[in-house]
């Protein structure tokens, strides 16, 4: 770093320094001639403090340079040439002038010192060195001055004579006083220092180089190694600068002619000046030599070297001289160019003026350069040797020698120039091509030499030549700096060699190191690190970023594509929970929890309670009312009827006709009439199917009607079954169930409690008729256990042994609880199979129907379970061989007092006695009195309702028998009472124990009273109007006002209720005992 910087600084310094040197050098010369002008300038400066500082600086610079040159000049002259002493005198003068100027410009100086102080912080070390060297120099200078002053005093006269016009001018100066000159000299000494400071000031960056320059003066070359490079660069830059300058001033080339005039003038002056100087030098010679002696070692060594080299380089001396001459040419050109500047109209500044002056003097410098160069080279050399005794080497000597040679050569040249400057100029120009060739030769020679020395040395060698050449040029121009550069060159090369050696070592070391390290280290390419990945911003974001947040407001535009209508429910939907039931099983069919939940429950219970009670009340009350109404109506009707019918029926107290003129009953024959044993007023009529077509499509179906005899106007219920019903009965107890056996062998059950909604409602005329189908049917459901032939009889099996002789008769369902639905039903078919069924009431109805009980109607609650089956068709006794054919069962009756015993009427005129559990209890058969069997049907069997162990049997042959339970033979037998007409029905009267009714096929009704007549009926009445198809006795023995009667169904379908009159209805006192006695007698 440091080295580089230094190099750079050196370069920069060189470029500008050179100019300054040039100026300085020029001015130095110019000074002599332009003394008056300068003085004018100085006066101006004194007068006008605002004058350009630059110019002043330049003045001083130039003076300083000149001063330094003078020193060197002096040294060199002292050491070698004794003929240039005349110059010293002039130096004196000038120095004196300098001191004078210095005093005059003390203000300026102060300013500079201030600047200097500013810089001092940075370059304190340099400064010290500076001061040291300066002091030394000052000492020297002062010594010289003193010497010179003394000499000057002596030689003034001589000088005056010798000097021409110039000298005259100097005289004028001299008139101003030697003191002034001294002052000037001192000032110049000061300027020497100032100049350096100023350089610093102008080029702050060049501090280091500056220091080096100082060191160069004081022979403290620490950075000699770089000099070599400096030189090289210097050379390059120099040429470049020249080029640039040439370019810059190309447009001003045509001014040159104008300038040439001036130039020639200068030349003349220069010549004179040179002459003078030579003279001076000669004069100074003794002093110089003395001084030389004062430093014997240096000078001696130098001499020795010089002598030593002189012999070697004699040959090249000429070449060098020529070369130098060639170098002078560009110098001249430069001067000329600079001179051109002066003519530039716009640039006429004080600087230009100075430059002009300098240019004029440039001519002089050219001639004077010899002396300058000598001085420059000699002085540093001496100093170097003084300070660095051990540093002298070949190179140095070489340089020294060269310079010596140059000096000699150029002094010769200068001598020529003195004779004819213009001529010399021409000569130089002519020589230029030749010189170039020579340069080339030299280079080649140097190259060869350098190659010998070695790779490191070669460079230096070449460079040295170059540098030296350049240095000469520089010296010619600037006077001071070249000497330094030369010195640099000298030491650079040497140290550079060392340096190179060192660096070579270092590099090889490095190389080795790297080689060893590379074995240990793996270098690899890293994956590419993504340092930044900035995705491009899309247009909208950019827009928003730029405009979205600033003072703009985004407006919304609608282009109709999203113009949609939407509706929102703003009011809440009111909702509440409600329940409803269909069909409602109570009066509450709907409700909701929201409507005062608890209250509603309460009210509901209350309501239901009330309604239940009301319903119950109404149910019973309505029946009563209905009955009363019916009775009232029937009373009126029957009264009329009675009157009309008194004639017809002697036993009848009145007649009530049930209203069978219903459309669906039209044309139907009533095949069977039955009364409930508990609810005596309830009657069941079976209307067999009709063949005639009717309005109602129930032709093929059997219709059963449930009647309340007190309400004859219409049937209570209408039951329907598909096939013919052969037998039917009510359930024991309350008449809520109706059982029927059918021609197809099935047993069916109707549950009368079922709601009408479960059944088919047919609207006929103005009335709705509910047609009830069976709740349960064994049709094909219980196939295995069912009947395979027509069911002839169904009978409920009495639950308990004795129900009492007179079970309570009540209009109201008082026995509901007693009625008990769990009872058995027996059914008998033609083949004599007796099936026992258990009637089961289901606790809950299933509306959807049952999966297992396929005979059960959906919603039905009653069903039959097959319990057991008994075959009753036993053969008669073996005695009667004829009876090979099994008996056909036609009728079934259970003994009310003992449900185990049953009696079956057969087709052979006998009644079979059987028990449920298979007990063989005699008599097995109840036969007629006549021996032998006759195929005669037993049409009717009726057991005494008063508990007497007797029963009546009616046969198809017209005979009526009365059997005791214990005897096979009948107690009594009446054969001709009906005139041979088949007996249709035989029934005991319900209110009188000794009375019974017989209906024969010819519609004759025979009424018997066994206590009055036991051989013939008491009365016989013939119903002439129509054939009576069925007869049923009704009556309620439990009632005080006993009513009794017979119900007669005629073929036309009419049902008449014949009330017995008092005679027949009310039993005689002790009638039962009489009967018992009579029966007992009969046995």
């Amino acid at each position: 770093m440091h080295m580089e910087k230094e190099l750079k600084m050196e370069d920069t310094w060189k470029t500008r320094d050179l100019e300054k040197h040039l100026r300085g050098g020029v001015y130095d010369e110019d000074n002599i001639r332009k003394k008056d002008r300068r003085r004018r300038d100085e006066d101006g400066r004194k007068g006008r403090s605002g004058e350009s500082v630059e110019r002043r600086h330049r003045d001083r610079d130039s003076e300083a340079y000149r001063e330094r040159d003078k020193y060197r000049e002096r040294d060199s002259t002292r050491e070698r040439t004794k003929h240039r002493d005349s110059d010293k005198d002039r130096d004196h003068d000038r120095r004196r002038e300098g001191t004078r100027e210095r005093t005059m410009d003390s203000g300026e100086r102060d300013r500079e010192r201030r600047r200097e102080r500013e810089r001092a912080g940075d370059s304190s070390r340099d400064w010290d060195i500076d001061r040291g060297s300066r002091d030394r120099r000052h000492e020297r200078a002062e010594k010289e001055n003193r010497e010179r002053e003394r000499e000057r005093e002596k030689r003034r006269a001589e000088r005056d004579q010798e000097r021409g016009t110039d000298r005259d001018r100097r005289r004028e100066e001299g008139r101003e006083g030697e003191r002034e000159r001294d002052r000037e000299r001192a000032r110049e000494r000061e300027k020497d220092r100032d100049r350096e400071k100023e350089r610093d000031y102008e080029r702050r960056r060049d501090k280091d180089r500056h220091r080096e320059r100082e060191q160069g003066h004081s022979s403290k070359h620490l950075k000699e190694t770089d000099r070599y490079n400096d030189g090289l660069r210097e050379e390059y830059l120099e040429s470049k600068r020249e080029k640039e300058r040439r370019e810059r001033h190309s447009d001003r080339e045509y001014y040159r002619q104008k300038e040439d005039k001036e130039y020639r003038e200068h030349r003349r002056r220069e010549k004179e000046e040179r002459e003078r100087r030579h003279r001076e030098r000669e004069e100074h010679h003794p002093g110089e030599s003395r001084r030389h002696d004062g430093k014997p070692q240096d000078s001696e060594r130098e001499h020795r070297h010089r002598e030593h080299k002189e012999s070697e380089h004699h040959l090249s001396g000429e070449v060098e001289s020529r070369e130098r001459r060639s170098h002078s040419k560009p110098r001249e050109r430069r001067h000329r160019e600079e001179g051109d500047l002066e003519n530039g109209p716009a640039e006429v500044t004080s600087a230009n003026i100075l430059r002009l002056g300098r240019d004029r003097e440039g001519r002089e410098t050219k001639e004077k350069k010899v002396e300058n160069e000598e001085d420059e080279t000699e002085k540093p050399a001496a100093e170097d040797h003084r300070d660095e005794e051990g540093a002298d080497d070949y190179e140095e000597d070489f340089e020294d020698y060269e310079e010596d040679f140059e000096e000699l050569d150029e002094s010769d040249g200068a001598g020529d120039d003195k004779e004819d400057g213009a001529e010399e100029e021409k000569k130089e120009e002519e020589l230029s091509p030749q010189k170039r060739r020579e340069i080339e030769e030299i280079r080649r020679a140097m190259d060869a030499e350098n190659e010998r020395v070695g790779s490191g040395e070669r460079w230096r060698g070449v460079e040295e030549v170059e540098v030296s050449k350049r240095d000469h040029v520089h010296r010619a121009h600037s006077g001071v700096s070249p000497s330094k550069s030369i010195q640099h060159g000298k030491f650079i090369d040497f140290v550079a060699a060392k340096q190179r050696e060192v660096s070579k070592k270092a590099s090889s070391k490095q190389k080795k190191r790297s080689a060893e390290l590379l074995r240990l280290i793996d270098l690899d390419f890293s994956v590419s690190f993504s340092l930044l990945d900035l995705p491009p911003v899309n247009e909208y974001d950019m827009y928003i970023k730029n405009f979205g947040t600033t003072n703009t407001k985004q407006a919304y535009v609608q282009c109709n594509e999203d113009n949609t209508d939407r509706e929102t429910q703003t009011e809440e939907i009111e909702e509440s929970d409600k329940w409803t039931q269909h069909p409602g099983d109570s009066n509450v069919v709907c409700g909701g929890p929201k409507l005062t939940n608890e209250a509603s429950v309460e009210s509901m219970t209350k309501m239901s309670f009330d309604s239940q009670r009301l319903a119950a009340f109404l149910h019973s009350a309505s029946q009563v009312v209905a009955v009363l109404l019916e009775e009232d109506r029937a009373e009126k009707h029957s009264l009329r009827q009675l009157k009309s019918q008194v004639d017809s029926l002697s036993f009848s107290d009145g007649c009530l006709e049930l209203n069978t003129k219903l459309p669906f009953l039209h044309g139907r024959e009533v095949s069977l009439i039955s009364f409930s044993q508990v609810q005596r007023q309830t009657m069941l009529s079976v209307h067999s199917p009709t063949t005639k077509p009717s309005a109602v499509r129930l032709d093929s179906q059997t219709i059963l009607c449930i009647w309340n005899i007190w309400e004859p106007s219409c049937p209570q219920k209408v039951l329907v079954y598909e096939s013919e019903v052969l037998c039917c009965c009510f359930s024991p107890g309350k008449a809520t169930l109706v059982f029927a056996g059918t021609a197809v062998g099935s047993v069916v059950v109707w549950d009368l409690r079922e709601h009408s909604s479960l059944h088919y409602t047919l609207k006929i005329g103005d009335h709705d008729w509910t047609l009830r189908y069976p709740t349960f049917s064994t049709d094909a459901v219980l196939a295995a256990s069912s009947h395979f032939s027509s069911v002839r009889s169904v009978e409920p099996v009495p639950a308990n042994v004795t129900e009492g002789l007179r079970p309570e008769f009540s209009l109201l369902p008082a026995h509901e609880g007693v009625s008990g639905l769990s009872f058995q039903l027996a059914s008998l078919d033609e083949s004599g199979v007796l099936n026992l069924w258990v009637v089961v009431e289901l606790p809950k109805a299933n509306q959807a129907g049952s999966q297992t009980d396929l005979g059960l109607k959906p919603g039905g609650k009653v069903k039959l379970l097959h319990s057991s089956s008994i075959t009753t068709n036993e053969r008669l006794s073996k005695r009667e061989a004829v009876k090979t054919v099994p008996l056909r069962a036609l009728l079934l009756k259970f003994l009310p007092s003992d449900s185990n015993h049953f009696f079956i009427g057969t087709d052979m005129g006998v009644v079979t006695h059987g028990t449920r559990h298979g007990l063989n209890i005699p008599p097995k058969f109840y036969r007629p009195q006549l021996a032998g069997l006759r195929p005669v049907h037993v049409t009717s069997v009726d057991i005494s309702p008063f508990g007497e162990p007797v029963f009546l049997v009616g046969c198809a042959d017209g005979s009526v028998r009365m059997h005791s339970l214990r005897k096979e033979q009948p107690l009594m037998e009446w054969t001709g009472s009906t005139n041979g007409e088949p007996v249709v029905s035989v029934q005991w009267a319900l209110t009188r124990p000794a009375m019974f009714c017989v209906l024969d096929a010819t519609s004759n009704i025979h009424i018997w009273d066994l206590l009055e007549k036991d051989y013939e009926p008491m009365t016989t009445e013939k119903i002439r109007s129509d054939r009576v198809t069925a007869m049923a006795v009704f009556g309620d023995p439990a009632k005080q006002n006993m009513f009794s009667g017979i119900s007669l169904a005629v073929q036309s379908g009419k049902i008449e209720m014949q009330y017995f009159n008092k005679k027949w209805a009310v039993p005689t006192p002790a009638e039962l005992e009489n009967l018992q006695n009579m029966l007992h007698e009969a046995f």
Binding site: D522, S526, D541
Partner: protein, 124 residues
Amino acid sequence: MEGPDTVENTYTIRPNYQHKFKAGVVKECIREVLREELSGKQYNPEEVTTMSRSLADSIKERIKEVGFDRYKLVVQVVIGEQRGEGVKMAARCFWDADTDSYAQDIFMNDSLFCVAAAFGCFYY
């Protein structure tokens, strides 16, 4: 090279753990510097050249303070203007991945983005 020097050199080919180039620490340094220097700055094409240089220097100084011995530090700073263009920057290094590492951080504001990457190469 000389006789006695033929003994095999012992090279430090791995940094002391404490002095290893720690990307996280360096990243923090970079982040701090970038935040200090760039917060509130707007992109100015005349300034950014010097700014990036000074940023690089100050980042380097900051990292040096952390004290990564024997590390050669290279700091690269790129400042660009945010104009919505996509920018992609990547780096690839030929180095010893065991010792050398890098850290990078990005500073962004509305007008500029700055990417600073510091590479640390170990001096063996």
